[in-house]
Amino acid sequence: MAGPGPQAIDRRQAWFGPQYVGQVVSQAGYPWKAEPDGNDVYSFDGSVGIHPGTSLHVQVKCYRGTFKHTKSYPIKDAWRANWDDLTQPAYFVVVELPSDLSSWLDHDCVNRWTLARASAYWARIDPLPPEQKSIQVRTADRFTAATVELWREQFLDYADSHGLRRGAVS
C-alpha cells in the first residue's frame, strides 16, 4: 500500500495501466472493477463485467518504452498457482507508455482535449498449459473497445463449447 504524497514512477505506472484499461472498457460500455492498490490477491488487477452474472479477470502490466512486434513476460510461480484455478476466459494486457512521464497525458488547452500517449496489447491466458513458460503479446493485438466485445463473444463461445448454455444456438 502506497503512503501519501507523490510516488516513484514505478508506482505511477502501476496505477496508470489498470486505469487506462478501465477507460477503454468504459468506452466499450462494460463495468470495470480494479483491484485496490497493491491487492492483486489472485494475480489479477481488475475484472470486466462481461455478462450479467459473470466477470472476467484481467492482469495488467505497464511497460515504459516501445516494443517492436512482441513483448514477453515470464510466468511467475505465483501467477501459475493462482491461475490454475481459472475456469473461465482470462486476459493479460500490456499497457505501453512513453519513457518520459510528463508526456503520458497531453492536455491541449486550446482545443480542450486530453491525449493519452498510451497503447495496450492483449493475450488470452486460459487455459495455461504446464509447459508454457511465458505470456506474449503482439502489436497486432491492440486493445480497444472492440476487444471487449470480442471478449464477450469468447466468453459465450466458451460457455457454449463447454455445454454451459443449454439454450445456445450452435
Partner: protein
C-alpha cells in the same frame, strides 16, 4: 463442513436462479439474461470464489461481503440430542424460509405430512406391501435451533413383524433410509456428476413421488435441513439436506429419462457406508464399482463387508441418465449379492 458448491447453489436456488447445465467441471446457472458458472472445485478464498461472488453480487444488487455472509451462514449448526429408546430423525430447518425460528405454518405442515408419507412409501417399497398404516410420530414441545422438527418411530406393537434390522419398527428402518437418501442428495449437490442419487431412488413410483414432494416442499419453503438420526445403542448419524440437495433430489425423483440394464460381476467387497447406503466393490476385471444398496440388502452387504477376503457375486442395475448432450451419468444399484463358496483350506 459446508461444501461451497452446494452452499453457493443453494443461495442461487433460493434467489430465483435456475440450473442451466451440468458438466464434468462446473454447473451453470441463469436468472433472466444473467449467466454464472460455478465450478465444483469452488472454495472460499479462491479465485473462482471471488469471481462467483462478483458476478452474482452484481445481479443480486448486494455487496460481495453481504453475499458471502449469506451463503456461508445459511445452514444451521445442529448437535445431536439425547438418544431415546426409539429411532428419531431430528432436523433443524434453516435458510431463507426461516427467520428467527419462524417459518410458514401451512408449508411446514405439508412438509411434516409429506415426510410421513415418504416413510410409509419407503416401507411399502422395501417390503412389497400394497398398503401400510401411517404411524410415524412427531415430537412436540420446545426445542433449540432454527425450526426444529423431530420425527419418531412409533412404539412397537407386540405382533410387529421383525425384520433383520436393528430397529423394532419398519418406520425406524424407513427413517434411516430417508436419512441415507437425504445425505446422498446432499452429496450430489456438492458434486452432481459423482453421485449415486439416481441409483438410490430406484423405488416404487409411490415412494419416488413422495420423495419428490418433500423435495419440492423444501425448495418452495426455502429450507435446508440439518440434524441427526438418533438410534438406541448406536452413535447418532449426521443428516443434512441443503436447498441444492433438495433440488437434486427433486430432479432425480421426477426425471425419468434413463436407460437401465443389468450386469453381474464377481469380485471382492471393498467397503460399506451406513450414512449413504453405499457399497464399494472391486471386480475381477479390475474395475471399482460404487453402488447404492436397497434397504433389504444393507445388512447382508454390511456383514459381507466385514470379511476383507470375502468374494461375492453381485448383480447391479446400471442406470445411464441421458441428457440433451448424451449420457450424463452412469450409476449402479445393487440387485442381489451372494457370497462365493470359500475355497477349502488346506490343513496340510
Amino acid at each position: 463442513m459446508i461444501n461451497a458448491y452446494s452452499a453457493a447453489t443453494s443461495y442461487l436456488l433460493s434467489h430465483g436462479w435456475d440450473e442451466e447445465a451440468i458438466t464434468e467441471r462446473a454447473g451453470s446457472w441463469t436468472k433472466r439474461d444473467a449467466l454464472t458458472i460455478v465450478p465444483f472445485t469452488l472454495e472460499p478464498g479462491s479465485l473462482s470464489w471471488a469471481q462467483f461472488l462478483e458476478g452474482v453480487a452484481g445481479v443480486q444488487r448486494i455487496t460481495i461481503a453481504d453475499l458471502e455472509r449469506e451463503i456461508l451462514g445459511a445452514r444451521a449448526q445442529a448437535t445431536p440430542g439425547p438418544t431415546t429408546d426409539r429411532i428419531e430423525l431430528d432436523l433443524h430447518l434453516s435458510g431463507p424460509g426461516v427467520r428467527t425460528h419462524e417459518t410458514e405454518a401451512r408449508r411446514f405442515g405439508l412438509f411434516v405430512a409429506a415426510t410421513a408419507d415418504v416413510v410409509t412409501e419407503l416401507i411399502k417399497d422395501a417390503y412389497h406391501l400394497a398398503r401400510h398404516p401411517n404411524r410415524l410420530q412427531v415430537v412436540g414441545g420446545p426445542g433449540e435451533g432454527s425450526v426444529r422438527i423431530q420425527f419418531r418411530e412409533p412404539v412397537p406393537v407386540v405382533d410387529e413383524p421383525l425384520f433383520d434390522y436393528p430397529s423394532a419398527t419398519v418406520e425406524g428402518q424407513a427413517l434411516h433410509r430417508l436419512a441415507q437418501i437425504f445425505n446422498t442428495a446432499d452429496q450430489a449437490a456438492a458434486r452432481p456428476t459423482d453421485s449415486l442419487l439416481d441409483a438410490q431412488v430406484i423405488l416404487d413410483p409411490g415412494a419416488r413421488r413422495a420423495l419428490a414432494r418433500v423435495a419440492r416442499l423444501m425448495s418452495g419453503g426455502g429450507w435446508s435441513a440439518d440434524g441427526f438420526l438418533t438410534r438406541p445403542n448406536d452413535r447418532p448419524l449426521a443428516v443434512g439436506l441443503s436447498l441444492a440437495g433438495a433440488h437434486r433430489l427433486r430432479l432425480s425423483t421426477e426425471d425419468a429419462e434413463e436407460k437401465i440394464r443389468t450386469i453381474t460381476h464377481h469380485g471382492l467387497m471393498d467397503g460399506w457406508t451406513w450414512s449413504l447406503g453405499e457399497m464399494r466393490f472391486n471386480t475381477d476385471a479390475g474395475k471399482s464399482v460404487r453402488a447404492a444398496v436397497p434397504a433389504g440388502l444393507q445388512l447382508t452387504v454390511a456383514a459381507l463387508n466385514s470379511n476383507p477376503d470375502q468374494r461375492v457375486t453381485a448383480s447391479f442395475q446400471v442406470l445411464e441418465r441421458v441428457g440433451p448432450k448424451g449420457t450424463e451419468s452412469t450409476q449402479h444399484a445393487l440387485i442381489s449379492i451372494t457370497p462365493d463358496a470359500l475355497l477349502p483350506v488346506d490343513g496340510g
